[in-house]
């Protein structure tokens, strides 16, 4: 009989770059206490880490909590165990996107539009990426942003056309190399 060893959720997270120290968390809560946006998290950072270690994959990835991380790194600067909570949140986001979880947040769509903008242009094309995001989420919400967009436009801060650079071909080749496991 063949037994397949499936890596646990914790192993999966710990294998992502910068997340290897998740096992050293002492649950002190400095991350949750420091978090700029903790009030919006159903499960604050300390609890998310505990849930990952308890193998609660679906509960973590179906929740919108991790998507409120603004990457301000206060948690990471203060963590006494150097476990880099901000990086762990982004690692969890990446797993959620890859495995098609659908947490109740629009940030998933925003991140996907952001990544697509890089693939298509080599650089972020701010106007195009925002347009794609609003068309995919709520085009009417874009109306609220119109005055701001207009003022940026009149101050020459919102070019309407993308500037696709040659380097984008290299980026896509590099992505292909990583997806296919390199030259091995």
């Amino acid at each position: 009989m063949e037994t397949k060893l499936k890596p646990s959720f914790l192993d999966e997270v710990a294998s992502i770059p910068a997340c290897g120290k998740i096992n050293e968390c002492v649950q002190c809560g400095v991350c949750s206490g420091s978090c700029t946006t903790a009030a919006h998290w159903e499960h604050p950072p300390r609890k998310i880490i505990a849930m990952v270690r308890a193998g609660m994959k679906d509960e973590v990835l179906n929740s919108s909590s991790i998507w409120y991380c603004v990457s301000c790194y206060l948690c990471t600067a203060r963590c006494p165990r150097d476990i880099k909570p901000a990086n762990i949140m982004h690692a969890l986001e990446a797993i959620a996107l890859k495995e098609n979880y659908r947490p109740p947040t629009k940030t998933t769509t925003m991140y996907r539009s952001f990544a697509r903008s890089i693939e298509q242009n080599g650089r972020i094309y701010e106007f195009g990426f925002m347009l794609e995001y609003f068309l995919k989420t709520n085009p009417f919400a874009a109306l609220k942003m119109l005055p701001m967009a207009f003022s940026l436009l009149t101050h020459k801060r919102m070019p309407l056309l993308p500037k696709a650079v040659k380097g984008r071909h290299q980026l896509n080749q590099m992505f292909h190399n990583i997806t296919t496991g390199g030259s091995r």
């Binding site: 910068a18 790194y73 982004h90 986001e93 990544a115 701010e126 003022s151 080749q173 990583i178």
Partner: protein
């Protein structure tokens, strides 16, 4: 003259345009030459780490590989680029599997990175390489009496770079003081403006921006001197009217990116300092300075000569 490899970052071509223009305007008077990387691509910023970490580090490494060819320190004005470029450097040192994957990806496009690039923030370059004393000596229009709240934001000082305090930094206030301005107490100076999520979580970001504006105004600031991060500058400047709409407040605080206020103090005009690109116009506030006669010799130089 000091030479640096320069990576502006994507936002500098759009929302950050005035900050970028002001940086280019002060480079020469500060004796620094910023040599922009050719055909640079996005660093991936934080959102790409939320999509795929290995790919994110690979595209960051492309920037580092290009910079390594120049043999110069890599300077960026965007705090988000600064953090991720630093992170790629650090992670690839410790994580050999990641380093190998990135190496393979770079090799597939004929690039190579040996991990030797020193990544620096332009504010740190102004502070450490130009120096506040040398900066003060170049001042032609002292910004005397201008009360400013100096905003560092989050990623200029975090997670850990060893240049300044991670939670209560001081660079910008020292730079502003060297220009003659009066930095006010500003407890929230290294708190986040939320702009990485301003598109998808607008209300949450407006709440954070509101706190910053309120804290600056309560401490008597007439303007905010912001770091060069285009996201911070846009959040505080362009989103100010949205904050006023949501919180029924009446903020009208000009947000001067640090190269903009340096430009004015060095004697450049409104347009050269790219102040016409700011949504909250600083024209009225700065007119006494902009209209003042440029001293033939800066006071500090006089003292040195005397």
């Amino acid at each position: 003259m000091r030479y640096y490899a320069y990576y502006p970052g994507c936002s500098m071509e759009a929302t950050g345009a005035p900050v970028e223009k002001a940086i280019k305007a002060i480079a020469k008077p500060l004796d620094i030459e910023l040599m922009e990387l050719e055909d640079w691509t996005c660093c991936g910023s934080s959102p790409f780490s939320g999509v795929d970490k290995v790919k994110a580090m690979a595209i960051t490494a492309r920037v580092l590989a290009q910079a390594e060819k120049t043999g110069l320190d890599l300077v960026t004005p965007c705090s988000s680029c600064y953090t991720i470029l630093h992170e790629a450097n650090e992670l690839m040192k410790d994580d050999h599997k990641l380093a190998w994957q990135v190496h393979e990806a770079l090799t597939s496009v004929g690039l190579n990175y040996n991990g030797t690039v020193k990544v620096r923030h332009i504010v740190e370059v102004i502070y450490n390489d130009v120096g506040v004393e040398a900066l003060a000596a170049k001042v032609k229009r002292p910004m005397t009496g201008l009360k400013v709240a100096c905003y560092h934001g989050c990623q200029q000082v975090r997670p850990e770079y060893g240049y300044d305090d991670r939670e209560y930094p001081d660079w910008l206030a020292r730079i502003a003081a060297a220009l003659g301005a009066e930095p006010v107490n500003f407890p929230l100076k290294a708190k986040c403006c939320g702009s990485s999520l301003v598109i998808s979580e607008t209300d949450m970001a407006l709440e954070l921006i509101h706190k910053l504006l309120e804290n600056a105004a309560d401490n008597g600031a007439q303007a905010i001197v912001s770091t060069t991060c285009p996201l911070c500058h846009t959040a505080l400047d362009a989103y100010q009217s949205a904050v006023n709409g949501k919180y029924k407040s009446h903020f009208n605080l000009p947000v001067l990116a640090v190269p903009q206020i340096i430009a004015v103090a060095l004697g450049l005009d409104f347009k050269q300092a790219a102040l016409d690109g700011n949504v909250i116009s600083p024209r009225k506030l700065l007119s006494p300075y902009l209209n003042s006669k440029i001293a033939a010799q800066a006071p500090a130089q006089k003292a040195a000569a005397g």
